[in-house]
Symmetry: C2
Subunit: 430 residues, 2 copies
């Protein structure tokens, strides 16, 4: 199988005009000019990029768009927890299917998914989306037996080389030091939420601020920040991917770097929840592996990686007051190879080089104002959208083609879950 | 004619579930429940909003997406000026037609357009887009005779109650005090660019910084900021709409408020050029009329008002570190009634109340994760896109319907202009 287009952007290697990618047995066999490799299936006015790697998602929250929008973080998470308790396994699976389908339609080929129920593993196995499914745990170490093990058993039939297991101790404000340590000892990939908001910082360090009113529902405050706490306990490692890292000081950057912790940057979620803008330049400057994540519709409203890319570029340039603070090419690398590195999967995905998995996305700029081309990477990043995705391949198999309506059917199937999540709140717009 | 949908959001007045808008002779005759007014043309899973009012655009730059992306403001504007000089009237008209069509497809029914050549008036008259076309002038007062008058004569046949004339002295760094004063004396609506970047601020106040190298091409620095300068000269007025206002201090806010100057907030342009985030809360808090503008694809990459709305919400919430800093409902008002007020057109457009012009937009959320509804305004703002626009009415006439391909044909027609603008630069992605 050969895919060719006006541009191939391998990320590792220079852009190739009129380029082609040769796929054999689910892997990339060659990348180069179509004139040498053959045209195969040719996409006009299009760009071939590595499939996007979503460094932090929650597929199960696919139909949560707008829930509690405008509430502060603590109130928002309480609404979220209360509503989530209303639905069960079948609905989590239906939601995760919708989420996986929306990811594929957005050109995403791999997710690092923090999964409340494990349903993400079922959905990813069914839909062919590559995944690291981190089963979520909360509270104390007993959750390894009461929560992690049952979920692991339930999803074991769906695990494979493509859908792998991880664990996600939720956050330093919701997980005891003992559970963090126990999670690390399992030897699995670990995802966690770190340093997301000022309110979290204030609660953890001093037990004060807006979160004080939820003291009964949380472990005791730590007297220090989450990052310092985990570092002191020896529970940071290269196997840890930390979402957010918005409120980090220089010493915390050094602690993260010393342990080679990776970061999933989630700019839409951080902005919409009023958490702020993570210091992307400082995170990268400290040598950390940084990827891009959509988080979930519960905060970021969609799995649209193009919207996430634009939010990353706008947020970073506005904060740095530099037009070159994050170029289109740098943003594209962040959402592909950067995320793959952050998940420890860069040996297999994240760039278009021979030997890697044939995970790729074709984005069409046809009919837009981006042609003729000046800068194909910027055109994809600032001009792309799910509606412009023509083809998404995972392991060389077409998992989404423009015009497919599977995503639409799966979203409709999940709508009942949204209805139950919303009831009995009146459906009155503010 | 009656248009009905799941929600009608009149902006002035509460949201109406299963609402309808009755149109007679190009004006709104009634707004209320469809059960009372009749269903007419019913849009499922949809919202009726006032047509978006684009408070600051440059339709002529419709095919400039990505030009010079990553350059600092001064370098970027030089690239822009050099390229713009390569094309002539016919190409400006072709570009403006593409821009007007893209606006209508994005649900925009009115533009406040700063027009280099006047071509925007031709395009808006042809396509039925309501417009205030501000003819741009630069340098000294002789431009009223050498530039403004010839352009005014050329576009006079295209002016009407719907397409009106204004003048745009470009900016305090490119226009002498005498030309500003002469523009104000004309009695026309005035648009200008104010306080866009730190570099501009530094140049104007001290003649130093990155702009020093362009000293020969600019009027002498003012020794003060543009806002202080215009205020001292008595050339601020309620007829002035100022784009940007990113770098404003409290005294400048007071000066703008004292003269009732309006502001066009352009968050995508400001972010992408590295100018920063305008202090929206402070601008509104000072009592200024503030609207939302897409600026042009040359900086903001498109006329997509939905992308602009999202950038406004993300930017404001991230800066204020509050999830409720700009709600969906507030953002929607900013892009409709807010912009109408900023252009002095709120007696005629910007909200759905009887007697106003029948300018409205139908946005469908069908197939998305926003249904069932929780908050229709937030769904439109955070979930809308040009592809979700079903109908755009101006003066009660359908100027865009989903599936129309006029925008596509007009964009293709303008592609030759982009080709000439790009030549002879090689089309090599960075």
């Amino acid at each position: 199988m050969i895919v060719s287009a006006d541009w191939v952007l391998p990320i590792e290697g220079e852009p190739i005009a009129d380029g082609a990618v040769v796929v054999e047995d689910g892997r990339i066999a060659a990348v180069g000019p179509a004139a040498e490799l053959g045209e195969g299936e040719r996409f006009e006015d299009s760009v071939v990029v590595p499939g996007f790697v979503n460094a932090h998602s929650h597929l199960e929250y696919a139909v949560y768009a707008g829930f509690g929008d405008g509430l502060d973080f603590a109130e928002w998470i309480l609404v979220h927890i209360e509503r989530k308790a209303r639905i069960g396994w079948e609905e989590h699976v239906a939601n995760a299917r919708a989420g996986a389908a929306e990811c594929l339609r957005s050109g995403i080929t791999t997710v690092g998914d923090a999964s409340f129920s494990g349903a993400a593993a079922v959905a990813c196995a069914e839909l062919g989306l590559r995944a690291l499914v981190y089963l979520e745990v909360f509270g104390g170490p007993e959750q390894l037996a009461t929560r992690f093990e049952p979920a692991r058993k339930r999803i074991t039939p769906f695990l494979s080389d493509r859908v792998r297991l991880g664990i996600s101790p939720h956050a330093p404000y919701s997980v005891t030091p003992e559970l963090y340590a126990a999670c690390l000892e399992l030897g699995l990939p670990v995802a966690t939420h770190l340093a997301e908001s000022e309110d979290e910082h204030r609660w953890l360090t001093s037990g004060t601020g807006p979160w004080e009113r939820f003291a009964d529902a949380l472990p005791p405050p730590l007297g220090t920040t989450g990052i310092r706490h985990l570092a002191a306990r020896g529970t940071l490692s290269p196997r840890v991917t930390a979402a957010h890292c918005v409120t980090v000081d220089d010493d915390e950057l050094a602690l993260l770097a010393a342990s080679d912790v990776a970061v999933a940057h989630c700019p839409r979620s951080n902005a919409l929840l009023g958490c702020g803008v993570a210091p992307l330049a400082a995170l990268r400057g400290a040598g950390l592996r940084v990827g891009l994540g959509t988080d979930s519709p519960a905060s970021a409203v969609s799995f649209d990686m193009f919207d996430e890319l634009r939010a990353a570029v706008l947020g970073e340039r506005a904060r740095a007051r530099r037009a070159d603070a994050l170029t289109g090419a740098e943003a594209l690398e962040l959402a592909t190879l950067g995320s793959a590195r952050a998940l420890g999967l860069d040996g297999e995905v994240g760039s278009l080089i021979p030997g890697k998995r044939a995970d790729l996305t074709v984005v069409s700029l046809a009919g837009s104002t981006w042609l003729p081309w000046e800068d194909a990477a910027t055109a994809v990043v600032l001009g792309g959208s799910p509606d412009r995705v023509r083809l998404t391949l995972v392991d060389g198999e077409a998992r989404y083609r423009h015009g497919d309506t599977q995503w639409h059917a799966l979203t409709a199937a999940a709508r009942d879950a949204r209805r139950r999540l919303l009831a009995p709140a009146a459906s009155t717009p503010r």
